[in-house]
C-alpha cells in the first residue's frame, strides 16, 4: 500500500531541548494513524515538522512524496490541520473564517461556497454560519475548525484532539466523519488524542509517544499481543461449581491463573485462545453448567496505561 508519510530517525531540537528523537514510522493511504501520548510527548511538534513549520534537525522525512524541509508550502496545500486550539478569528463569522482560509488555500470563491456549505451542514453549523464565532460554544468552535481543515479537500488530515469540548452526539458525528474520510474517500488521518476509546474506534494503527520518541507502535492487536500476550477469559456458571473443580481447572495445560474459585464467575488467564474449547469440555464433563465464556481483549486505554507504566518502571 502507498505510504503517504515515511519518517526515518526524525529529530527536532531547539535551544538545546530535544523535542523529537529517532521518530521512525510510516502512514499508509487511507489509514487512520493515532499518535498517543501525554502532554509534552511531542505530538504537536511532530505535526509541525511534518507540515514544514519546523525544520527537522536530523533524519529523513517524506510527506505525500515531498520534503517538509523545503516543500512545506506544497505540503500544506495538500494537508488539512485541526490545531490543538480551534484558532479561529472570533470577531469574524464562520463564513468569514472559511472564506479567509479557503482563499489562502488557493480555492476560488465558488469552491469555497460549495464546500463551505457542505461542511457547515455536515457539522450542524449552517444555522450559525453568519454569527460571530465568539458567540459559539466550545464544541461549535471545534466543529468549525474541523470544517476549516477539510474545506480545501486535503489528501492528508492532521487532527489534534478533534472532539475536544464536544458533547457525545457531536463527538460521534466526528468519529463517523473520520471513518468516512479514511475508508470511503481513501484519505489518511493522523489523529492525536487523549480520548483513547475514540482512538480505539477509528484507528488502524497506533503509535505511543513519550518524551519525543515513539515507545510502541502497531495495530491494536499487535500492541495487545505485545503488552498483554496472555488471554483473559471470563467464565460464568449457572451454579457455583464443585469446590475441587477450580483447582483442577487451574492445573490444566495453558491455564496461567484462575480467580473467583468458590463463586459462579471465574476470571482466567490463558496462554492462547485455543485453550478455551478443551477447558469448556473439561468443565462440562465434570458437571459445571457453563452459562457464558467471554474472552476479554485489552482496551487501548489498558494497553496505553500499561505501556506508560512499563516506561516508568524502566526509568526507575
Amino acid at each position: 500500500m502507498l505510504d503517504v508519510i515515511t519518517c526515518q530517525d526524525l529529530a527536532f531540537s531547539y535551544d538545546g531541548f530535544q523535542a523529537l528523537r529517532g521518530m521512525t514510522f510510516s502512514v499508509q493511504k487511507g489509514q487512520v494513524f493515532a499518535l498517543l501520548g501525554p502532554n509534552g510527548a511531542g505530538k504537536t511538534t511532530t505535526i509541525r515538522v511534518l507540515n514544514g513549520l519546523l525544520r527537522s534537525s536530523a533524519g529523513q522525512c517524506s510527506v505525500l512524496g515531498l520534503n517538509p524541509g523545503n516543500q512545506g508550502a506544497e505540503i500544506r496545500r495538500r494537508t488539512g490541520v485541526l490545531t490543538e486550539t480551534p484558532a479561529l478569528y472570533e470577531r469574524l463569522t464562520a463564513w468569514q473564517n472559511l472564506r479567509f482560509f479557503g482563499a489562502l488555500s488557493e480555492m476560488d470563491a465558488a469552491q469555497i461556497e460549495e464546500r463551505g456549505k457542505f461542511y457547515l451542514h455536515a457539522l450542524d453549523l449552517d444555522g450559525w454560519a453568519d454569527q460571530r464565532v465568539e458567540t459559539y460554544s466550545k464544541g461549535m468552535k471545534q466543529r468549525l475548525a474541523l470544517a476549516r481543515a477539510l474545506l480545501h479537500d486535503p489528501e492528508l488530515l492532521f487532527l489534534d484532539e478533534p472532539t475536544s469540548g464536544m458533547d457525545p452526539f457531536a463527538a460521534r458525528q466526528v468519529e463517523e466523519l473520520i471513518y468516512r474520510i479514511s475508508k470511503d474517500e481513501g484519505r489518511s488521518v493522523i489523529l492525536c488524542t487523549h480520548r483513547l476509546f475514540e482512538a480505539e474506534k477509528v484507528c488502524d494503527y497506533v503509535a505511543v509517544m513519550k518524551q519525543g520518541s515513539i515507545t510502541a507502535a502497531g495495530t491494536l492487536s499487535e500492541l495487545r499481543q505485545q503488552v498483554t500476550p496472555e488471554i483473559r477469559v471470563r467464565f460464568e456458571f449457572q451454579q457455583v461449581p464443585a469446590s475441587d473443580l477450580a483447582a483442577q481447572a487451574g492445573g490444566l495445560p495453558g491455564v496461567q491463573s484462575l480467580e473467583g474459585a468458590g463463586s459462579a464467575v471465574w476470571n482466567l488467564r490463558l496462554e492462547t485462545i485455543e485453550t478455551v474449547p478443551p477447558l469448556v469440555a473439561f468443565l462440562t464433563a465434570n458437571g459445571a453448567a457453563v452459562l457464558s465464556v467471554i474472552p476479554h481483549r485489552a482496551t487501548l486505554e489498558e494497553i496505553y496505561l500499561k505501556l506508560q507504566d512499563q516506561e516508568e518502571q524502566v526509568k526507575l
Binding site: R77, T83, A87
Partner: protein, 277 residues
C-alpha cells in the same frame, strides 16, 4: 510572494480591526481632536471669547522665541501686522505640524500590534501558519494591513485639516492659505516612512512580548520622536523647513528599511512557534 494572499490577509486584518472598537475608536478620536477640535479652538472659539491673538502669541516665552528665530522660509508666511492671521499661521500652520506625525505612528502601532502580537495572544496564528501562504505573504499582508489605513487616515485627516483651515477662517485670510509648502514633504514623505518604521518596530517588539497591550505600549514609545521634533522646533533648535523635512524623511526611510529587514528576518514560522528570532 503572492499579491492575492497579501490582500486576503490585509482584508481579514482590516475586518478584525473594524470589529474591535477598542482598536478603532482611538483612531477616530485622535484625528478628531487634532484636525477638528484644535483648529476650531484657534479659529472660532478664541475670537468668540474675545481672546486677543497678541495675548496668545505672547503667552509663552517659548512661542515668542520661536517666532523671533523663525527662518525666512517660514517667517514669510507670518505677517505680524495681522495678529489673528499670524496666530493661526504660527499655531496651526507651523508649530502644530510635528504633532500631525503622531497619527501615522499611533495608527500603525495599534493595527500592527493587533495584527502581529494580537494573533499570537489569541493563538490564531497557528492556523495561519498551516496555510500554504509563504512567510513573505504573511508578513507583507500584515504590513499592508497596518500601513494602508494608518497612512490613509493621516492623509484624509490632512485633507479635512486643509479644508477647515481654509474655510473656517476665510473671512480673516480672504484666500486659501493652507497648506504651507513645508506640509507637503511632511505628509507625503515623512508620514509613510514613520508608519512603516512604526510597524517594523512593532513586529520586532511583538516577537518578544506575549500580548497586544505590551507590544502596543512599547511601540508607542516611538511618539518620543515626534515630541523631540516638537520640542526641537519650539526651542528654536530645529525648524521643519522643506530641506530639513526631506533630510529627516531620508533618515526615517533608512531606519524603516533597516528595521523592516530585521523584522522580515525575525518573522518566520519557526521563530513564531519557538520564540527564537
Amino acid at each position: 510572494m503572492k499579491i492575492r494572499n497579501v490582500l486576503t490577509i490585509a482584508r481579514k486584518d482590516w475586518l478584525e480591526v473594524r470589529q474591535n472598537k477598542t482598536a478603532w475608536i482611538p483612531m477616530l478620536i485622535v484625528p478628531a481632536i487634532f484636525v477638528v477640535v484644535l483648529p476650531l479652538i484657534f479659529t472660532l472659539l478664541l475670537p468668540a471669547l474675545n481672546v486677543s491673538p497678541e495675548d496668545v502669541m505672547n503667552s509663552d516665552a517659548d512661542i515668542t522665541y520661536f517666532i523671533e528665530r523663525m527662518p525666512d522660509q517660514l517667517s514669510q508666511y507670518v505677517d505680524l501686522q495681522k495678529p489673528m492671521e499670524s496666530m493661526i499661521v504660527v499655531m496651526l500652520g507651523i508649530m502644530f505640524a510635528p504633532m500631525f506625525l503622531i497619527m501615522p505612528l499611533m495608527f500603525a502601532s495599534t493595527i500592527a500590534a493587533e495584527s502581529f502580537a494580537g494573533e499570537r495572544e489569541r493563538k490564531t496564528i497557528e492556523a495561519l501558519l498551516y496555510t500554504p501562504a509563504s512567510d513573505a505573504d504573511l508578513f507583507m499582508g500584515k504590513l499592508t494591513a497596518a500601513a494602508v489605513p494608518s497612512i490613509g487616515i493621516t492623509w484624509i485627516s490632512f485633507l479635512v485639516y486643509t479644508l477647515i483651515l481654509n474655510l473656517v477662517p476665510y473671512t480673516t485670510f480672504q484666500r486659501f492659505w493652507f497648506p504651507l509648502p513645508t506640509w507637503w514633504p511632511l505628509i507625503f514623505w515623512i508620514t509613510p516612512a514613520l508608519a512603516i518604521l512604526s510597524i517594523a518596530v512593532t513586529v520586532l517588539i511583538s516577537a518578544r512580548v506575549p500580548n497586544f497591550q505590551g507590544a502596543y505600549q512599547l511601540s508607542s514609545s516611538l511618539v518620543i520622536l515626534v515630541v523631540a521634533l516638537f520640542a526641537g522646533q519650539l526651542s528654536g533648535f530645529l525648524y521643519l523647513s522643506v530641506g530639513i523635512e526631506l533630510l529627516l524623511g531620508v533618515l526615517f526611510w533608512a531606519a524603516a528599511f533597516f528595521l523592516v529587514y530585521l523584522a522580515v528576518r525575525s518573522f518566520n514560522r519557526e521563530a513564531l512557534i519557538t520564540g527564537r528570532s
